[in-house]
Symmetry: C2
């Protein structure tokens, strides 16, 4: 059940769900399929029949730039639905691909429609999750435009840490990414990503083994990043009141 419930776990951050809702979600979350790193789920222009739920691993939303570069505009972690858009907007205005090994669940568009039309609490939770995604984008926008890239990178680590914790998936090290991917997220070159990462390491804010980053002291990192997780709109981040 820990796996199939990842969606319910995420959605309950929006507010309580009924047992009936959770049962419905358990139906929705069927057998996952596996994907290796750097595979596309959906590419720009598609109008697919399914929506993808991340069960494990890390997925990104990205746009390919005219100069051939890649801008990663969102990270999807376990419990996140990659492309709810599709069910409403139709065609995609960007692409979605894996970053790591992943397990995903395909949810038919029709099922999404059913959830939206006939399950008010789930509908509200999905709406909530869309709005949180939007809030995250706003924060990324601020991060991108205004902060120096070391603060920006630290902020990213804080966010991922907090989001993983919210679905109890903060097991091992976060950010199993190459420096190029890190650069694509932060809008900097891979060379600079390297320098910034070394800088954080030298300050003792992170430790790096291979392409994995660990955070020895999350509070210190949050302070450095001026991170305030309010925008994630999680309930009861610390305790279970």
């Amino acid at each position: 059940m820990p796996d199939t419930n990842i969606l319910a776990q995420k959605l309950q951050n929006a507010g309580p769900l009924d047992p009936a809702d959770i049962a419905r979600l358990d139906e929705v979350v069927s057998e996952p399929y596996e994907l290796g790193p750097r595979e596309d789920l959906i590419t720009h222009g598609d109008d697919p029949e399914y929506v993808n739920l991340v069960v494990s691993g890390m997925v990104c939303r990205y746009k390919v730039l005219p100069d051939g570069g890649r801008a990663i505009v969102a990270l999807m972690l376990p419990g996140d639905i990659c492309d709810l858009h599709v069910a409403i907007l139709g065609r995609m205005d960007h692409s979605i691909g894996t970053l790591t090994d992943c397990r995903l669940v395909k949810i038919p568009r029709r099922t999404i429609e059913d959830l939206l039309d006939n399950h008010p609490r789930i509908r509200r939770a999905l709406f909530w999750s869309t709005l949180v995604d939007e809030a995250i984008l706003r924060e990324w926008l601020v991060n991108m435009g205004r902060r120096r890239s070391d603060h920006q990178m630290a902020h990213l680590f804080c966010e991922v840490h907090m989001r993983l914790s919210a679905v109890n998936e903060m097991h091992d090290a976060l950010m199993p990414l190459t420096q190029e991917e890190l650069g694509d997220i932060l809008g900097i070159s891979s060379v600079h990503a390297q320098r910034v990462l070394s800088g954080l390491r030298q300050k003792g804010l992170v430790t790096v083994q291979g392409s994995r980053v660990a955070v020895p002291d999350i509070d210190k990192l949050c302070e450095f990043a001026e991170f305030d997780g309010d925008y994630l709109h999680l309930r009861d981040t610390q305790d279970g009141t």
Copy 2:
């Protein structure tokens, strides 16, 4: 009716509405109130009872930075609802304020709930508008992180032009903004905003009178900005099929 229908006009970009839906929206859009420039509608931390619809003028969503600066993370134009979040997320994680003289309509939170719960087509249209807002944010993120600021500024002008056109509000010049505000949107200093704007003027891409920008040739500007309006998900941008 041209005024009160601005919401219907916007939402019909998502797909057709029934006459009954439109009648309901006409009820919702009551008497507007007026606001001068630089007034706050809602500030960070509020949990207000109303949601605001822009009838005329320009409103922005912004965050105040630790260093006292301001980052504008969204523009709301006629037909846009400023803060649908509030009805779902509760507390605000940012502030909303006017940029110009504005007319706005207050919509009670309860009314929004009714629209979401009992009017499927309107609900879908509202969901659509949220997703488009998200798409705009993604585009802004790319713009911010990857493009040089002259392209970025041109891109912004193209977007505003297209969004205003979509609700037939592209009357006079766009962007009645100070250079500081322009800088707050683009993530650059006001001094640099000035230089970039002069650059565009010298290239003949825009004309400036006071703090108003006019676009003599929108196609040329779009080309310069590498602007592709797909992400706005408007139906039938050119004609009325």
